[in-house]
């Protein structure tokens, strides 16, 4: 058996889902079986890659042996490995869920087209997280956007088509701005390679403008308040497994690139004004998203607004970790929150999809009595909600707790207030759904059945969000591989 360190996992993490996407596009009548098999294999490769980075350090691969600057390089440090692992775990359960979700109702149209698009999306995610240069990241960003829009449009309702169109226009604008920035950076530094950009002496107006347009494009694609307007309609109208991957994974991809540029390429560009502005927009997203989730009429719209709120937390990394010598506390907290949100939100969207399959209408009030009919699914929804709120011992708690410590340790207590207010709002909108789910309907409990795979995939993701809280130590160790910030994880301040 070959050693783990020698396995060429980097190229396989991209090639496997890409080959699978092409295969299921050609062999449409077997798409479901092949797609599920490729999904399981891709998840295994992604998790092995994380193990490889954890044991062997930063991985690097020159595709075709060409190498930079001519060829395409793939690279994986701790952050990349964690993102690929997150994609693998969410992707595995979403694949399993999808194999039971799409019926033959519309002549098998959705089922036939879901699998190639989903595997293409998976390819784009892995390739983006492993891209070693900023231009390759642009190509994968476009691939990601196009496949995500096509997946939203799969629902084919007027709301989904409109949401997809808005999503496409915003996404294309965002990636064009990103491309402009990459080109300007090339003009200033003469390279697109992330490692070379990090060491290049970048200064002056050209670099500042480049970072500005890159940030504008990526913030638009990450749906940071007030640029979140496109997210709720698109995420709420897509088929449930698609909503899950959009909220859990796709928005994280552009955030990941933001981290690459701000922490590796141009950390010296971070002035307190800029970092606090990004943090402030994040804080407003937490409050606004939470309030909209609290008042949303429809169940999936509520979950989508919860994504707007949870994305806001991630932007607290800029005021708390950037420009600080020992920024690892906030860096680790945000990474944990990101992973916990990915698994919990995917679980929440999957359980919402199962609930909606069984309930009268898609309003929050239409799910009355669901706890009697679908106890397992409602359990998954509640458990995912517990992680989103940040109650111990979930991954959401670990992330928020560490971030809270970082806010107090750096003397920026106002961000801690945002964290607490956001948790309160999350608790309120989760309880609002559960109150309806546990409302007993008169008469016999409705005997509605959804496939067991729908229910248990959601449970698996919610349980993963819970387990993340116990694995926080290992995750932080992996995150240290090639991390741009150092220092201990400060946990003293609240004792």
């Amino acid at each position: 058996m070959p050693q783990l360190a020698e396995l060429p996992l980097l190229p396989w993490a991209v090639a496997l889902p890409l080959g699978g996407a092409a295969l299921v596009f050609v062999v449409r009548e077997r798409a479901q079986a092949i797609g599920l098999a490729v999904g399981v294999a891709s998840a295994a490769v992604g998790l092995l890659l994380a193990l490889q980075v954890a044991t062997g350090g930063v991985q690097h691969h020159a595709v075709g042996g060409w190498g930079a600057p001519l060829g395409i390089d793939l690279a994986a440090d701790g952050l990349s490995a964690l993102m690929v692992a997150m994609t693998s775990v969410v992707g595995l359960w979403v694949s399993l869920y999808s194999s039971a979700y799409f019926g033959a109702g519309d002549g098998g149209h959705q089922r036939a087209y879901f699998w190639p698009l989903w595997l293409l999306l998976w390819t784009a995610l892995n390739a983006l997280f492993l891209a070693a240069d900023s231009f390759n990241a642009y190509v994968t960003l476009e691939l990601l956007g196009l496949s995500a829009v096509a997946l939203v449009a799969l629902a084919a309702t007027p709301a989904a088509l409109g949401g997809a169109m808005r999503y496409l226009l915003v996404g294309l604008l965002g990636s064009l701005l990103y491309l402009l920035g990459v080109g300007l950076l090339y003009g200033a530094a003469g390279t697109v390679d992330f490692r070379l950009l990090a060491t290049a002496p970048l200064a002056g107006p050209a670099a500042a403008v480049a970072l500005g347009v890159i940030t504008a494009g990526l913030v638009l694609k990450t749906a940071l308040f007030p640029f979140h307007f496109w997210l709720p309609p698109a995420h709420a109208s897509a088929p449930a497994p698609v909503s899950a991957v959009l909220s859990a994974l796709v928005v994280k991809a552009s955030f990941y690139l933001l981290l690459r540029f701000w922490f590796w390429v141009l950390p010296e560009a971070a002035t307190p004004v800029v970092t606090n502005l990004l943090g402030l927009l994040g804080a407003l997203a937490v409050l606004w998203g939470g309030l909209r989730a609290l008042t949303a009429e429809r169940l999936k719209l509520l979950v989508a607004y919860s994504t707007v709120a949870q994305l806001g937390y991630l932007f607290l990394v800029f005021p708390l970790a950037l420009g600080s010598v020992e920024g690892f506390t906030a860096w680790g907290g945000v990474a944990l929150l990101l992973l916990a949100h990915a698994t919990a939100k995917a679980g929440m969207f999957l359980s919402a999809g199962a609930i909606l399959k069984a309930s009268a209408h898609d309003g929050v009030s239409g799910i009355d009595g669901t706890a009697q009919a679908l106890p397992v699914t409602v359990f998954a929804f509640a458990l995912a909600g517990v992680s989103l709120v940040g109650l111990p011992p979930t991954g959401g708690f670990a992330g928020k707790w560490i971030l809270l410590n970082a806010a107090l340790a750096t003397g920026q207590w106002w961000w801690a207030a945002v964290l607490l207010a956001g948790s309160l709002l999350a608790a309120a909108y989760t309880v609002r759904v559960l109150t309806h789910a546990f409302t007993r309907l008169p008469g016999e409990p409705p005997a509605c059945v959804v496939p067991a795979r729908l229910e248990w995939s959601a449970v698996a993701l919610a349980v993963t969000a819970l387990v993340l809280g116990f694995a926080a130590g290992e995750i932080l160790e992996l995150l240290r591989v090639g991390a741009p910030v150092s220092g201990p994880v400060l946990m003293e301040q609240l004792r």
């Binding site: 190509v139 496409l168 080109g183 090339y186 309609p233 949303a296 009429e297 719209l301």
Partner: protein, 107 residues
């Protein structure tokens, strides 16, 4: 004004025009054309911003070529989606995102 600066300024002007039309115009076809105008502005700027020491640098040219390929396929996809939106809603404009969202910022 050097020719390169002229290209750079023209690129910036194209981006501004396209951005204005993308936000202000309601018809989907106009929005898609606006995105293409922005794209052309970006491509023009990239070629102008390439460092030139004697011979032109081929890397930004390769970037622009890739960008054009992406723009063509994205435009085709956007046009197809726009036709579906018109068929489903009766008008080639973005439908309001639902009464639940109305009143939010950005509208």
């Amino acid at each position: 004004m050097s020719p390169l600066l002229t290209y750079g300024v023209a690129g910036a002007v194209l981006i501004a025009i396209g951005l204005y039309a993308l936000i202000v115009r309601r018809h989907l076809l106009r929005k898609i054309v606006a995105l293409n105008v922005i794209g052309n502005g970006v491509f023009l700027t990239l070629v102008a911003a390439a460092p030139r020491l004697g011979t032109p640098d081929p890397v930004p040219h390769a970037m622009v070529l890739t960008g054009i390929v992406v723009a063509v396929s994205a435009t085709a996809f956007a046009l197809a989606l726009a036709v579906r939106v018109r068929d489903a809603t009766g008008a080639a404009v973005l439908p309001p995102p639902g009464d639940d969202v109305a009143g939010g910022p950005g509208h």
